[in-house]
Symmetry: C2
Subunit: 336 residues, 2 copies
């Protein structure tokens, strides 16, 4: 059984780091009894295709992603929101999984950081009903449903029960702003805590502003963090700053039987085309893709090799090294 993977390099360094991730997937398939060679389907999205066709996300790409087993996406430039938000919808993703971990061998503001954000991926301010009501007044309707909140919480409970959270913390933390958004985040908070209780999962809570103060002061107090959509966006990016930047952070947009895997970083136009982009985030996104397809042992193999290269292998300039994308990728492939 060969899975179909849609590959969207997109703009800028997406065109350098996604081929690196595909190479890793190929070598995994070659060297694993469990994994058959993947069937790749290339598709376009981003600034370049928008300049040509007027559409940052061609209908064809949307349909391919919607019908694939998984999609690997690189980055988009100015059109990022026009690409990534519909793609998340195409794969019916309800949770965005964002691990942020500091690695031995990598400079980090807070080397103790090891957190996983489970970000609601369909609603909040991203539901996007906006109106220009008058010359002076604009509004946005923020949406929170009990069903999406419960679904996210069910996922969080399974995630924790499967031991996928960091070892140093049991259960999870809900971050929200229910003291101000009493009805919407109030509902979110209540549903998430209720589901945790039904599943016997330990859950505590934190206001999102307090969380933003406390994470830099002592990241070790947090493990799995469950948040509404925009809170997850901002707080996970904050964690990225604590572990040394976006070059290391993968993410998984998980749907019931589909998924979209993407580095958290953008297209980095300043270094694009030079062959010096850090492939780590894309390769770790490929590891999340393997895990999503059930190849847990192979995902772990990829992660272990990445870790050992970060600890003392060749590294790209953003990590203080002088290796090219290819050299760092080769070292990771050799370690598989």
């Amino acid at each position: 059984m060969s899975e179909e993977i849609v590959v969207i390099e997109g703009d800028g360094i997406g065109q350098e780091v996604i081929p690196a991730a595909v190479e890793v997937l190929d070598v995994v398939a070659e060297t694993s009894d469990a994994v058959d060679p993947f069937e790749y389907v290339e598709a376009d999205a981003g600034d370049a295709v928008a300049a040509e066709t007027g559409e940052a996300l061609p209908e064809e790409t949307y349909e391919l992603a919607a019908n694939a087993d998984a999609t690997l996406f690189g980055a988009a430039g100015e059109t990022a929101a026009d690409v990534i938000l519909p793609l998340r919808e195409a794969v019916s993703s309800f949770v965005n999984v964002r691990p942020a971990r500091a690695y031995p061998g990598v400079d980090a503001v807070r080397p103790e950081t090891d957190v996983v954000f489970l970000r609601e991926n369909t609603e909040g301010v991203y539901a996007g009903h906006e109106d220009r009501l008058s010359e002076d007044l604009s509004t946005l309707t923020r949406v929170v449903t009990g069903s999406a909140s419960r679904r996210l919480a069910e996922y969080a409970c399974e995630f924790v029960a499967d031991g996928r959270g960091p070892d140093h913390r049991d259960g999870f933390t809900v971050a929200h702003k229910a003291n101000v958004m009493r009805e919407t985040d109030g509902r979110f908070r209540e549903e998430v805590l209720a589901v945790a209780e039904e599943h016997g999962v330990e859950a505590d809570e934190e206001l999102m502003d307090a969380f933003a103060t406390k994470l830099p002061l002592d990241p070790s107090q947090y493990g799995v963090v469950v948040c509404p959509n925009l809170a997850g966006d901002v707080l996970s990016d904050l964690a990225a700053g604590l572990v040394g930047g976006l070059g290391l952070l993968p993410s998984a947009n998980v749907g019931a039987d589909n998924g979209l895997f993407e580095p958290v970083h953008g297209s980095a136009p300043d270094i694009a085309g030079e062959g010096i982009a850090n492939p780590t985030a894309a390769i770790l996104s490929a590891a999340m893709l393997l895990e999503h397809l059930g190849y847990t042992a192979d995902a772990d193999r990829v992660r272990a090799s990445v870790e050992s290269v970060l600890a003392d292998g060749p590294r790209t300039g953003d990590l203080g090294g002088a290796a090219s994308t290819t050299e760092m990728t080769d070292a990771i492939v050799d370690g598989l």
Copy 2:
């Protein structure tokens, strides 16, 4: 001419740090040619009064604050939102000024941090129109007006022109999420940048998630940061984490001819009543009050004394010292 200052200690350590701040104001008035003794009016708010009367913010307190020259507020516990949000409205505050600075002598995750947030203080998600539309669905209407955005931006331009921003950065940065909230934050961004251009003030911009990554990586790249209400709440609290916690951070809710001055920290029930709370944030809030009333030189005197005590004077336990609130306050008073 003696100004009327409403003093609301509120709950928990509010009852310890506000008297410290009032003592500083008294000594300033005694020792300054410019400042006449203030006329204080005490008023209630918070959990304790809510437990007695059912109202966290009595109508009388609201009216007193609305009609005073300035209000000094400590903290409220569970009822914080019920107290602070109407109080900000009582003083017609349109901007929340939140400096976050690391001080020599105080442990900080990022000792280079020196930023001032100018947070919109009337709208965004705080406008608070929420509805429970069905068993499953809740909504919140987020509000952005051109007029509030321009007013904030005018203030920011004056602030920068008066040299009140940190020395290391000209102009200001607008932080927003206009790539997703295109109409509302799009309007905010556009108005703020337009006002900056009208005033010849240098302004750059940053997506709020990117800002959350970049601030911990290199705080020295930011000075004055202008944001919508919730973005300002979260990003200024993040900065608090980088400078060593909430114990040092003052804030000013500025209206046209009124103001509300409050430490950013809460009521800290765990240490309340022990006489060990750090009075710095409350005393620096009193300095912002002095500045607001036009006593700039006296405000600077207070800040200088606080800085020298933080550098090598007696300090409270949260700063690694063993001084009581009173001992630390006395040292600051002695330095005036």
